[in-house]
C-alpha cells in the first residue's frame, strides 16, 4: 500500500469511529417490534453498512476489518430479509387463502389419485375374491386368525386399551402415513402412487376377505365414521406428493431444484390441512369406531358430516372473512 493510499485508508477508518461503535454495540439486539421510523433507520443502517463494506473490500481486501463488516452485513441482511412475524394474521391467511389455493392446484391430480385408489381397491377386492389364499400378502396372521374365528381384528380394541391411547396411536400413525405419502413424491411421484395403490389394494382385499367370512358389514360399521375423511386425506397427501414429483419431471422453473421449492411452498398448506383433519379423525377412530354401542346410521352420519366439514374447510369456508359472508 503506497503512502497516499495508506493515508486515505486510515482517514476513512478514523471517520467511521462513531458509526462503527454504534453498530457494534447494537450487534446483539435483534430488531423486534420496531416502529416505522425505527425500521426505516435500521434499513438506512443496512445501506450504510453495504457502502462501508464495498469501501473496505476495495481498500482492505481479506482483512479482519472487512471480515467484521461482512459478518455484520450478513446479520443485518438476515434480519431484514425474513417473513412477517404476525402469527395470527399468517394463520388466518393460511386458512382463508393458503389451503384453498393449494387445494385448487391439487384438484386435477387429486382426481387421478382418487381414481387410482378406487381402481386399486377394486383390484384388491377382485384378487382376494378370486384367490383367497393371497390374503397373507396384505393381512397379518393375527388378523387372518381372528377373521377365521368370526371376529374382526378391531373387536376388543376398546377393552384392551383406553380410547385416549388408541386415538393417539392411530393419529400418529395416520399423520406419519400421510406425511410419508407426501414425501415419497420426491421419487418422481412414484412413491405417492405406490402408497395410494397399496392402501387401496389392502382396503379392497380386506373387504373381500371379511365378506367371505360374513364380517363385511362389521368392517363397514368400523370404518363408516372415520373412513371417508381418512381416505380423502390420504388421497390429498398422495396428490401433494404427486405434485412434488411432477415438479421434478416437468420443472416450471429454470432448474428442477427451484421447481421443487416452488411446488413445496405452494402445496405445503394442504399438508397442514391434512394434519389438522387427521387429529379429529384420530379421536373418531379412538372413541366412536371401536364402540359397539353406536349404530351404523349414527356412524354414517358422523362420517358424512365430517366429510362435508372437511370440504368446507378445504375451500376456506370455515374461515371466510366477514364481508364475504354477507
Amino acid at each position: 500500500m503506497n503512502t497516499p493510499q495508506l493515508n486515505a485508508t486510515s482517514a476513512w477508518i478514523r471517520s467511521r469511529e462513531r458509526i462503527w461503535r454504534q453498530w457494534s454495540s447494537g450487534r446483539q439486539a435483534r430488531p423486534h417490534g420496531l416502529r416505522i421510523e425505527q425500521a426505516q433507520s435500521y434499513v438506512d443502517q443496512y445501506r450504510l453498512l453495504a457502502s462501508d463494506l464495498a469501501t473496505a473490500r476495495r481498500l482492505l481486501p481479506r482483512s479482519a476489518t472487512t471480515a467484521a463488516l461482512e459478518s455484520l452485513y450478513a446479520a443485518t441482511h438476515a434480519s431484514i430479509d425474513r417473513s412477517s412475524r404476525q402469527t395470527l394474521t399468517g394463520l388466518r391467511t393460511l386458512l382463508r387463502v393458503g389451503i384453498p389455493a393449494s387445494m385448487r392446484e391439487l384438484r386435477p391430480t387429486l382426481a387421478w389419485i382418487a381414481l387410482l385408489f378406487v381402481v386399486s381397491s377394486g383390484a384388491g377386492y377382485w384378487l382376494i375374491a378370486q384367490y383367497p389364499e393371497l390374503i397373507g400378502l396384505v393381512a397379518s396372521s393375527e388378523m387372518i386368525d381372528k377373521v377365521e374365528h368370526g371376529q374382526l381384528w378391531t373387536e376388543g380394541l376398546f377393552n384392551v386399551a383406553p380410547s385416549s391411547i388408541i386415538s393417539v396411536r392411530i393419529l400418529s400413525n395416520n399423520i406419519a402415513v400421510s406425511l410419508f405419502a407426501f414425501c415419497a413424491g420426491i421419487f418422481f411421484g412414484l412413491g405417492a402412487f405406490y402408497i395410494t395403490a397399496i392402501n387401496g389394494l389392502m382396503l379392497g382385499a380386506l373387504f373381500a376377505y371379511t365378506r367371505q367370512h360374513g364380517l363385511d358389514g362389521e368392517l363397514l360399521r368400523f370404518v363408516a365414521a372415520h373412513g371417508p375423511v381418512e381416505i380423502s386425506v390420504m388421497c390429498i397427501a398422495a396428490a401433494a406428493g404427486s405434485a412434488i414429483g411432477e415438479s421434478l419431471i416437468r420443472p416450471d422453473g429454470p432448474t428442477r431444484r427451484e421447481s421443487l421449492q416452488r411446488a413445496a411452498n405452494r402445496i405445503g398448506p394442504a399438508l397442514i390441512a391434512c394434519a389438522l383433519l387427521l387429529i379429529v379423525c384420530g379421536f373418531i377412530e379412538g372413541y366412536v369406531s371401536p364402540d359397539p354401542g353406536i349404530a351404523l346410521r349414527v356412524r354414517a352420519l358422523i362420517g358424512l358430516g365430517y366429510w362435508i366439514v372437511m370440504l368446507v374447510f378445504l375451500r376456506g369456508g370455515l374461515h371466510a372473512p366477514a364481508a364475504s359472508k354477507l
Partner: protein, 245 residues
C-alpha cells in the same frame, strides 16, 4: 489451501454477500449434539413422570397402558419430534447443536427461513433418514453443490457456517488507527498476535513479534530484537497499540 465453498447472495443494496457453506462434517456434528439433547430431554421427562407416578402408587402396567402413561409419553414424543422445527423457528435457524457446531440455517437469499420452509425441511426428514442413519440425507449432502439434504432442497434452505462475531474488533479499529498512526493491516496483525499470545509457544510468538516489530520500525533489526525477552516483546507490541492495552 482449498477455497471454502460459498453461498453468494445478491444483497438488497446491490452489494453481494457470501456465506461459507457447512459441509457434511459440521452438519453431522450439529445433528449428533441435537440428537443427544432431544433424546436426553425426552428420556428425562419419561423418567421424571415414571418416578412421580410410582411415588403416587401407580404400577408399571398402569403406567404403560393407562391415561397417565399417555400424559407422560405423549409430551416426551413431542419433545423428540418437535425439537428441530420449534427451535429452528425460535432461534432463527439455529438449534443448540447448530450453535455449538457453529452453523445456522439461511434461505437461498441469505435471510431467515420462514415457518413454512422450516416445516417442509423437517417433514422431509422422513426421506432423508432412510434407510437408516440418515444415509439418503448424507449422500445428498455429498453430491449436491450446496451440501444440502433433500429437506433443504425442497425448502430452499442452506446450512452455512456462522461467521465469527468480530464486532468488538470493528469498534476498536478507528481509535487504534488514530492513536498509533500505523497501517491498519499492521494493527490487525499486532492485535491478533496479542490476542493469541497466551496460546502460542514462546518461540513462535517471539519470532512473529520480532518480524512484525522490524516491519513497523526498520531501525529495529531482527538481531537486536533477538536478545529482547518475551515479556518485553509483548510490551513493545502493546505500546504500539495504546488503545488495545
Amino acid at each position: 489451501m482449498d477455497e471454502q465453498e460459498q453461498l453468494s447472495v445478491a444483497g438488497l443494496t446491490g452489494i453481494d454477500l457470501s456465506f461459507p457453506i457447512a459441509g457434511p462434517g459440521s452438519r453431522s456434528y450439529a445433528f449428533i449434539i441435537d440428537w443427544h439433547i432431544r433424546s436426553l430431554l425426552a428420556v428425562a421427562w419419561l423418567l421424571a413422570g415414571w418416578l412421580l407416578l410410582r411415588l403416587y402408587g401407580h404400577d408399571n402396567a398402569r403406567f404403560f397402558k393407562g391415561g397417565p402413561g399417555l400424559l407422560i409419553g405423549w409430551p416426551a414424543a413431542l419433545i423428540y419430534l418437535l425439537y428441530h422445527p420449534l427451535l429452528e423457528l425460535l432461534m432463527h435457524g439455529r438449534t443448540p447443536g447448530k450453535r455449538m457446531a457453529g452453523v445456522r440455517l439461511v434461505t437461498q437469499r441469505g435471510g431467515q427461513p420462514s415457518a413454512g420452509a422450516i416445516l417442509i425441511r423437517n417433514v422431509f426428514r422422513l426421506i432423508d433418514c432412510m434407510p437408516g442413519l440418515y444415509l439418503v440425507g448424507l449422500i445428498s449432502c455429498m453430491v449436491t453443490t450446496q451440501r444440502v439434504r433433500i429437506g433443504d432442497l425442497a425448502a430452499g434452505t442452506v446450512l452455512v457456517l456462522d461467521q465469527a462475531d468480530s464486532a468488538g474488533a470493528l469498534a476498536r479499529m478507528p481509535s487504534l488507527v488514530a492513536a498509533s498512526g500505523l497501517d491498519p493491516r499492521v494493527i490487525e496483525l499486532a492485535t491478533e498476535l496479542l490476542e493469541r499470545w497466551p496460546s502460542l509457544s514462546v518461540e513462535r510468538r517471539a519470532a512473529l513479534a520480532r518480524t512484525l516489530l522490524t516491519r513497523i520500525n526498520p531501525a529495529w533489526s531482527i538481531d537486536t530484537l533477538a536478545t529482547v525477552p518475551d515479556a518485553d516483546l509483548r510490551q513493545r507490541l502493546r505500546d504500539l497499540l495504546p488503545a488495545a492495552a
